[in-house]
Symmetry: C3
Subunit: 261 residues, 3 copies
């Protein structure tokens, strides 16, 4: 009853995210049933965190000013025990992004790192290029996630054709979704916000990640199924529709595999 719970008590999720995806992030979250709020002013950190159920920090299009904002927001989140999700967009694309993410991770308590295979591979110390903000899957997302978790000891969600969640409880791999998600900007960024929303209402981090990823990906599947000629413009519109129209019954199609299986 994951989605129902979320809709009954909509979590306020503060989304510090990049300039390209603010629209799809806000619309996707509202369609889901969550309550997103965005801010560009660090003096708002305390007021917002007092009321928040989650904080998403997505470092795409960051600059020096947003770096300050991110530190202040995460500091306040830590003070109020608000779980923090970090999305290291384009981690390997510049020294600035790399240093920013490394600093945020070292300075604060992070509940979850969520990135695509290329980003998490680089974050785990892998060498090889993460081209632009896109992912190149060199190895399985589960392996990449394990490399990263072993290095940083922070739970990690690695997205790709399959999605893997690695934490102290082992590795869980999820096999829903559709490749059309790669053809719109911000689908991964929106997923980061969706995960934050589920963390605010689920009992455990693992359950939250599994349900968030599954719900999101199953909505992508049901959206594509509705389109005659799947294409990114209408897919984006329909994905937002399906985040709103679906409910917990969609979890019947969930494909989740843990270590043991």
């Amino acid at each position: 009853m994951s989605v129902e719970k979320l809709r009954n008590t909509p979590p306020l999720v503060v989304c510090i995210t990049n300039d390209v995806v603010k629209d799809i992030t806000a619309n996707g979250m509202i369609a889901l049933g969550a309550s997103p709020i965005m801010s560009g002013e660090k003096s708002e950190a305390e007021s917002l965190m007092k009321a928040a159920g989650g904080l998403l920090v997505n470092i795409g299009t960051a600059d020096m000013k947003k770096k300050d904002l991110m530190h202040e927001m995460i500091k306040a989140a830590n003070n109020y025990n608000v779980p923090v999700v970090i999305d290291p967009v384009g981690y390997a694309a510049s020294e600035f992004r790399k240093n920013l993410v490394d600093e945020l991770i070292q300075s604060h308590d992070i509940a979850l790192i969520k990135g695509n295979a290329g980003e998490i591979f680089a974050l785990a110390g892998g060498t090889g290029s993460s081209r632009g903000v896109d992912s190149t899957e060199k190895t399985e997302t589960s392996e990449i996630g394990e490399m990263c978790f072993n290095k940083l000891n922070i739970p990690v969600l690695v997205t790709g054709e399959t999605d893997s969640f690695v934490s102290g409880e082992g590795t869980v791999t999820m096999r829903n979704g559709h490749k059309m998600l790669e053809n719109i900007t911000g689908s991964g960024c929106l997923l980061g916000a969706v995960v934050s929303a589920f963390i605010a209402v689920e009992d455990t981090l693992q359950q939250a990640v599994i349900n968030a990823v599954s719900y999101f990906n199953l909505c992508a599947e049901s959206a594509v199924a509705e389109l005659k000629a799947p294409a990114p413009g209408s897919f984006r519109t329909t994905l937002i529709d399906h985040l709103y129209l679906n409910d917990d019954t969609i979890f019947n199609g969930q494909k989740v595999f843990s270590d043991a299986e």
Copy 2:
């Protein structure tokens, strides 16, 4: 002939608005027939206000730099007699937003304040929480509007399930619209811009507000009527379509009630 007039002489409306809604604001305004322009540079204030028919200032995602920008833009607008609409998004969400709005209102001439019930309730000095940027309707929008007008003596538009406009000429309540508007981000922000556009072409503020709110809400109704399964992605797309496709004949469905009735 309100919409026809607007389309015949498209008003240039400077929109200083939040980062989340710039896309829907620009697209909605162009669909309507207005000419929006956005700016992030305070030295542009004079050039822009010389040519402008309206200025919208929406304080969502504001920061210290945008605070300066807003002051400069409104100062220039006042110099050139350009009517200023303020949308105090998330007024009660932080001290920063509260202080910013209070300062803007005290320092300059404001033609209209436009906000949702929660925001205007807080602005009127009501205590109670405005959660995130969403509204909680505690009392009728007309009562909230009257509280606010009595306190600030600035005409006010309060949006909600019903919308109320309160000015020195009394209270007008409008009963069009559709709750699907709450499921997309920026519908209220776009309405603020639409009101600015109508102010630029109508003879009186009251006529402008009534026609702007009615046209916008009637377009929402006609958009929903076209959808098989109303959902926020397709509703947003269709709302923009209907702002463009409709004309003055839609006012036949207008539901407006003044004090006296």
Copy 3:
């Protein structure tokens, strides 16, 4: 085989663009098959340009900080021989924008200037007002382009009902497209990015501009043809779809005329 080539080796295009159009720019570029990346941090310039195939600089909503960013990005682009496209959005709307564009053009090597008729007319030293960010076509785009090229000696693409490209090789006029493009925000801005992507994969600037403009405009035509009641919300969605769904066969409809004809 222009589009096929682009999709086989997707060029990384750094898009420094205005706040209103980041979403449509990123989505349009991904739909086309290119790899867009955006940045707000000048220290990223070198890292990004090392990997980039193109740089678009669109000056809408610029401010003093973005001015610095633009200079740094173009400087790095020049160092790494990355072709730079400048879109002087709202050139005549303020002294700030005028000075910014003039400075960028004088300080760096620019491969192409791309703007609407009003912007290029003003840039060419024509007097008359470019109202807001919209274009007023006073004369043919070919004449305006020639005025501008004669003054600045930089290849120029002038968009309007017809589109003209003027360079040392003469003038080429393109007659595809649909007026619905004027009813959505960012169509011209997206075209600037699309041109950047084609420049990265075509052998000559002229071939790149012709194919980019033709592909984009033919996609607009095929998108409109699919709509029952053309309107801007659904047109935008469908335009993105068609940038993705079409391929090189669409060039059969290309209407291109050079000087000699």
